[in-house]
Symmetry: C2
Subunit: 321 residues, 2 copies
Amino acid sequence: MTKQENTVSLKNIIKASKNVYQHLSPTPLRYYQQLSDSIGAKVWLKHENHNPTCAFKVRGGINCVAQLSKEQRQAGLYTASTGNHGQSIAYASKLFGAKAVVYVPKNANSGKVAAMQSYGAKVVHFGDNFDQCRAAALEAANQNKGLFIGPTDDILINGVGSYGLEIMNDLPDVDVIIVPVGAGSGICATAMVAKTINPDIKIIGVQSAQAPAQQLSWLKRELIEADNTTIAEGVATGVPFINTQETMWKYVDEFVLVDDKDIIKANKILSETTHNLIEEASASTFAAALQLKEQLKDKSVVLVMSGGNISMQNLSKLIGD
Amino acid sequence: MTKQENTVSLKNIIKASKNVYQHLSPTPLRYYQQLSDSIGAKVWLKHENHNPTCAFKVRGGINCVAQLSKEQRQAGLYTASTGNHGQSIAYASKLFGAKAVVYVPKNANSGKVAAMQSYGAKVVHFGDNFDQCRAAALEAANQNKGLFIGPTDDILINGVGSYGLEIMNDLPDVDVIIVPVGAGSGICATAMVAKTINPDIKIIGVQSAQAPAQQLSWLKRELIEADNTTIAEGVATGVPFINTQETMWKYVDEFVLVDDKDIIKANKILSETTHNLIEEASASTFAAALQLKEQLKDKSVVLVMSGGNISMQNLSKLIGD
């Protein structure tokens, strides 16, 4: 695979989808009358939580590992993750018989770690946060002549874009798509597909007010680090990524912050209404929609349910409230 | 539609699937290493909880309403339900612009009632149990020249059989399929498909020990009523149905009871491992597999996750334990 073949574009997303659909089926885009009534708009959820690994990222992992040579798969893939990205690489590596090593922070979500291990990945607990894990994984990859995979590599974004294609295929008249922003691969892929097909579609990013680095960087058009204390793992980014920021500067129309306590309230409504397990990052999109009610009035709105990997502890708090 | 066109058979299930796939996509059959390790077998879950309405029954509702005339749709469908069947008829009626009236017991699960109403059905709270609702719905149908739909009508079973086709298509070498038994449409449809394609496949039914009527009737080959105090709504049947019993007498190999407390334990493991919301009836299949560990050793086993409509109250207890 060459760099050029994997720059992010609608064409390369379509090509990537061929790899993705060798191993995955499209996820449902589902209309909910009760959610629509509460927003005053037509509200669809894109159920990326229905994927294996219960998160959208698996699409990127599959597109990546599918394109590696036998030698690369044997030499191994090294990555760092707080959860969903690591599961994606672990799951895809199992599919293609590749070796996978995932560095996770010492306090990583034990459910996600167990899932990675069940796919056969070696999980290394290291340091306190993603950045320390990233450095360790990069070093291990170099020492072992393995391949380091970063969470926002273009090849992953192209694979992830397949869910954007599905949204446009199922609902060509969509007006607004609201996407949670972690590292940024999801929103960049979605925006690339939607804006290329119809520049009038509004793309709105969401982060937690307790982890606003990506939002601040998007507003200022420069990389800004920020506090990162949110409970919403999937949007818990304290250090922004330049490649996804550059794409967001180009394609994202609006970027809102929602408070953790509003994410929890939104998640309770989503769980009760949809009978899906929804992780906090996904729920942030519904919290944002509630916040943006007036501008969404009567529009066709898609909320991206990026994943379902809520911890049992947080679920317990959520339901108990 | 004639009676003969809708008797339950593999041929008619294949025909019904054409109606079903006009409006639904196949659900995933997913392998779980962690569940496999705990049973000592290869364990797949059939995720019927991923359907709209979060339950398998919607397949039957669609096959039924698809075959009605414009006049029948306008005259209206009348049915009785404690939840998932009513949601199925309500959802399908909305798809085809039919009028739907669902009689539910006074203490019906409020989440399921809200869902039926969100699909535009008229919900009538009546009496204390399914049988009283059934009598009232039948009378209302006669008075209003509408069509009464019973929960085990052949036309529904044929639609439901499409998930059996999907299991056989995705895993032709399956050895054992474990299915929760409520009214019995799920297990009859599954057994009809699986046994016709490969009579060696073992079909195991499950009910709660706190609602054993269908199991006792199956064992004795006669209709026996029994106490019905289970928390597992989807298998809470106190009065057996003759048409599904006759099919089960022919096709079901084994029928086990599991205690409510073991269902709850099983559900906790399923929720943690799969990050899906799972209703108790679905979890009964995993409780049964744990009970049958020895005979399942090294086999390829499918557990049917019939639905995901657990009440928030029961979910709270489950996670809190």
